[in-house]
Symmetry: none
Subunit: 247 residues, 2 copies
């Protein structure tokens, strides 16, 4: 059994804290295959464990390699993450496109990986040359300060969002209540219109149809639930009975 793809490969990472942050970011988005190439402070690393908020303990053991070649040995499709464009003949994906590419590769049964360079230097051109294509994370050209953990977070989350995207997911969260049927909505609207008529709301016969349409638009485009229409009936009752006896 392989852990979920893609693998995340960190090349010569410096700070244990960044490795821990990367592990935490990975597990937040369901990735568990972390590989290190020649980490500066060796492995295991207490700073990494502390920073991972328990992620490193929950994930399968991290694999450590001497070279990027060895780390990529069992993988079929590998993308290199770069902060700046490189003068190389290689496809460059946005994170979202990379999500689709790796998803397609995985569906075809391929093992995938994403390679991240060291904190300051990034990946060398030789490292990139080992990879199938590149991912570029676009940022504000006047202020770009992503660290290694944040870069892993952004790529891992984008992959997760892309792969979880069951074609357009806008949903109206409506609790226990069901959308109202049109007959019940109509009943409420007619009742309100009658109350407004009694209250002298419609200043002229000519304006009345437009005014009614405007009010109806407010309530029809909201996708009211059954319960909400009951609430609005209560609101109407309350508003129209008030001041009655006292005034």
């Amino acid at each position: 059994m392989n852990p979920p793809c893609p693998a995340i490969i960190l090349v010569h990472p410096q700070m244990g804290e960044n490795i821990g942050a990367a592990a935490r970011a990975m597990l937040n988005f369901g990735l568990e295959d972390l590989r290190l190439v020649n980490p500066r402070d060796g492995w295991p690393n207490k700073a990494a464990t502390d920073m991972s908020s328990g992620a490193l303990e929950k994930m399968p053991p991290v694999q450590v390699f001497d070279t990027l070649q060895e780390a990529l040995a069992d993988l079929h499709y590998v993308l290199a993450t770069t902060a700046r464009p490189r003068d190389m003949v290689k496809e460059v994906f946005t994170p979202a496109e990379a999500g689709k590419e790796t998803q397609n590769a995985q569906r075809a049964g391929l093992k995938t990986g994403l390679v991240f360079g060291a904190e300051r230097a990034g990946l060398s051109n030789d490292d990139i040359a080992l990879c199938n294509a590149m991912i570029n994370i676009p940022t504000n050209p006047d202020f770009s300060s992503l660290n290694l953990g944040q870069s892993v977070l952004l790529v891992a989350s984008t992959l997760f969002f892309t792969q979880n995207n069951r074609e357009e997911g806008r949903t109206l969260k409506q609790g226990e209540s069901f959308p109202v049927t049109h007959d019940k909505l109509e009943e409420f609207l007619v009742r309100m219109e009658n109350e407004l008529q009694e209250g002298g709301f419609f200043r002229s016969k000519e304006l009345k149809p437009t005014m009614i349409r405007n009010i109806r638009n407010i309530f029809t485009r909201t996708n009211l639930t059954d319960q909400e229409v009951r609430t609005l009936h209560g609101v109407l009752t309350s508003l129209t009975r008030q001041k009655k006896p006292s005034e």
Copy 2:
């Protein structure tokens, strides 16, 4: 000149470090309008400045407010970020959908905002009831440890990626009328709540907060226009004055 939208609003943030990380994440993705509601340690905050890697110095001054209402006053379209689903009748977007929604709103000339809750507690249901819709950041259900800075980073970057990628989305056809700002909507809601209080609508003290929230959700998720709120004021006036003389 307004700074680029959307504004990022942090409600009662605790750690200065997280405010600084949020500012840094914002500027990385071109956002500059940071607003704080009642920050625990006051403002300015040295830990925030240190953590922002210079972002806070480059951005326009952070605005500090006592209440979320005040922070939203000049905005037209506001999304609440939530980690867990809430039992509320309100649309829930993924970060990518939220990117399209805010992009559409901005193209229509609206001022937008994204609201984030405090580190542990998140947003209260009352806070969410002030917003037009929700953003949910999906994560691994078995390991979810996003902090405030990371949440801002994910949402800001997704917006940036989405907005750099021109794609048509759904728009609300609104005729000549402009969406209402939150201060005017708030004024209407408070007026209605007072009328309902007078009319004996809130059957018990215990139920009142929930009932208010349910009513607010009906009106906040509709994206009312200025003209519609004026119409609703007229409706209220008409309903509460009727039957007065004749009975």
